[in-house]
Amino acid sequence: MTPDLDLVPFVPELVLVAAAIVGLLYEALARGPRYPVHLAVALAGIVVASGATLALWRYGGDPTVLAGAIATDRLAVLARLTVLGAAFCGLLLGTHAIERDPAAARGEFFPLLLFATTGMTLIVAAADLIVVFLALEVLSLSLYVLTGLPGRRAASEASLKYFLLGAFSSAFFLYGVAMVYGATGTTRIPEIANALVGRTGEQGLALLAAALLLIGLGFKVSAAPFHMWTPDVYQGAPTSVTAFMSAATKVAAFAALIRVFDVGLQALRWDWTPLVAALAAVSVVLGSVLAIAQADVKRMLAYSSVAHAGFILTGLTASNADGIGASLFYLIAYSAMTIGSFAVVGVTTTRGEDRTDLDAYRGLYRRDPHLAAAMALFLVSLAGVPPTAGFIAKVGVFGAAIGAGYVWLALLGVLASVAAAYVYLRVIVLMFMVEPEEALVSDPAPLPRIAIAIGAAIVLVLGLFPGLVTDLVRSAAVLRW
């Protein structure tokens, strides 16, 4: 027996790896000004990969290919596109960071970012827990290095923390995979589902596996109480990397979580949805409350990312197409808002990483009205105020939770959103209603502004015309296996 070699659903990853390797070779062999070429190669890789992904929307072959390792459903397509979009913006931001500080720049940024993207696009399509784990490691390893790339003290510290805690959580995940194998005798996610369906006996091992897998993935989506690394890493990493990973990692890890739990462990959903609900409740409350106490914008956004992980988990308590659809919509919206806001953080002052405290935002409107307006839009959307994408997303996940009987969780979410609104409004007040004290100048570079414009456009469009994507999201939420 030889495996079926239908490589078509795997083309996006192949393209990304090829682009990354071209970048590595170029970095090793070429001299002179390199960043334009690097950027061109990487962007070309992402665009081609996106095209290949789009072509998969109408893929008519088997639900899984390559000996059951890769899923071909629309969840994989949509999540991949979101990740690729985040990578596109991340590249623009990273190139700008390199232009601003050439001394600390490393050409390996581009291949590493592509490798991280490969890991992410692979994990959202992985239909075998071994591939999920490997993809998780590929993306994590690349992100550890991207975090510490500038070699400054804060970045190195963040990188080390991320690495130590990340390795720890990977071990949990791997342990969970081993337990699944012990319980079902397979690591293919559809086969796990078949093995668990209709089993009446002792489920202890499978439940333990579910808990361990939830810990491993909970770390990656930075759900409380596995969020400890998030503020330090988001703050210490270069802002461009933070923007990329805050969006793309969440999409990737949540897509993996959806596939593992809503396909593989579907039979156990009465056992794991309370766990997910508990994680969601803790994340929402802790993220919102702790964000209030932060004086640094990156830390504040990091805690807000913990809270948003909680909101997305709220949607997943439904464990049906409604919940998955709502969570997917939330992920797309959140990616746009978080990349946009971190992009603004990167250009608020020309001093970049040195000034990420709230004081840098005093009177931003006077200095740079466009930037202030964009930031306000992102913050309003993060707070979940209509007519932005954040509002529609929140309505969706709360609706799904209520439909699944988790009314208390939805109520808690609403309350936490109100509390968190204070955080975002405080920054808006600083930007619009306070006179600037210092002679700070915002960075006029064009590349980050492209990323900001993309993010703002998505936030507005999704907020005003959510119907444009709800159909897509709904068809992606029907998992084929």
């Binding site: 690349s142 337990m179 202890g204």
Partner: protein
Amino acid sequence: MSADQLVFWIFAPIAVAGAIGMLLSRNAVHAALFLVVNLFCIAVMYLLLEAPFLFAVQIIVYAGAIMVLFLFVIMLLGVDRGDDLREPLIGQRPLAVILAAAFVVEIAVAVRAGIGFATMAPEGFDAVNRDGNARALARVLFREYFLPFEVTSLLLIVAAVAAMVLAHRRARAVTQAELERLGLLEPPREEAPSP
């Protein structure tokens, strides 16, 4: 008692003792050596389970390569003597012990309840291993699991690039302007052009 069981009962206690010794020894090199002992005993277990390929690979890769590099780093950095192992956060250690014990009990119970402690080889093991364990493994690895296998190579590339990027920091050329800003250099004096 068969020969297999005899070997098991010789090596299993050594493996456990090695693991405990690794945890308890304060000297980093001793800890590494205990780990080598443990890995070696685990390799013997693979041999008993009729997986000779894993046995050899376990020794070559773990005991032979990884642990030697561990020792290499320990020696190079000189972290082997007189480390301060006191915990800066109060209460972490007892808490960790309690939670770890609870975790171990939980796992043991779940495994016992789920599959029991196996007393025989899985069904069809002999048939699969018919023409050699190495061949059987190769067949699985390069057919059913060839994508994971290839992704592993991707992971190794990333790891190699990562290690090089982090370890090999290019000596950074400091510009005159930067030195001035840091106050390390007097501003350049006007000099008469030399003939």
